[in-house]
């Protein structure tokens, strides 16, 4: 049941689409996989799409926040895309702001934003 989240490489950017509800193990595994892949590919940016995710609790939010910080340390930019309205509201009510990350409505917008940021 412990399936890994696929991480795709497109030029200098990594693309991750999280398709199903994250359990703790998968989330931690993902964190490790992403950092390894970043290291191996020397990617400059990551887009993480959360469109199918219908809830995020404080644990998963922490893992995501850590991933964002770690990626930043490795010199790459992260854009999170497709956070659903219900998820955004519960995150805010939980007191989680993810204030250090770029966001975009969907994968397409997210890639645009990331490329612009990398050009600058």
């Amino acid at each position: 049941m412990n399936a890994r989240i696929p991480i795709l490489k497109l030029n200098e950017v990594l693309i991750v689409s999280i398709q199903w509800e994250l359990d703790d193990q998968t989330a931690i595994q993902f964190q490790e996989d992403l950092l390894n892949k970043m290291h191996k590919t020397a990617a400059l940016g990551v887009v993480i799409d959360l469109t199918p995710i219908d809830f995020i609790d404080s644990f998963i939010a922490k893992v995501l926040g850590d991933v964002i910080n770690m990626t930043g340390l490795m010199g790459a930019k992260v854009v999170i895309t497709g956070i659903q309205p219900a998820v955004a509201i519960t995150l805010i009510e939980l007191g989680i702001r993810l204030s250090n990350v770029m966001t975009a409505l969907d994968l397409e917008n997210g890639l645009d934003k990331l490329y612009k940021e990398l050009e600058a």
């Binding site: 359990d23 193990q25 995020i56 219900a86 998820v87 007191g95």
Partner: protein
């Protein structure tokens, strides 16, 4: 119809089971997507607290009515060490597990009613309710 269902929390996977049950119950009770997310998230937080601090316990989900209002009540109970300083746990930013510390006050904000009964050495019971508006 069974108005009450429960999940034993023993392994990490039971957290997933508990929130799936919660999501289904919330959907069946007629909650909208935002409230479904609130209820699911609250259950996840409560179940994780049981798993992390008590090791073992259970999450019960119950349909409730009061004065023509309908809602869902979640009862999270364990026989763990209890919470020594309740006030501190309810402060934003307090956490003993290295999480975000959003847990308890966060759950309170997500739900409409929230009550903790805790006895050191005997366990903790958290009862929280969300009403259909």
């Amino acid at each position: 119809m069974d108005l009450r269902s429960s999940v034993e929390i023993i392994t990490e996977w039971d957290i997933v089971a508990a929130r799936q049950l919660g999501r289904n119950e919330a959907k069946k009770a007629g909650f909208g997507t935002v409230d479904q997310a609130r209820i699911t998230t609250a259950i996840s937080e409560l179940a994780r607290n049981i798993y992390l601090y008590a090791g073992k316990g259970k999450i019960e989900i119950e349909r409730v009515t009061d004065n023509g209002k309908f809602g869902i009540k979640i009862i999270a109970s364990d026989e763990g060490p209890g919470i020594p300083d309740l006030r501190k746990v309810m402060e934003d930013g307090f956490s003993t597990s290295g999480g975000l510390g959003a847990g308890m006050p966060g759950v309170k904000r997500l739900m409409d009613e929230f009550k903790v009964v805790s006895e050191t050495g005997a366990g903790t019971t958290i009862t929280t309710t969300k009403w259909l508006h």
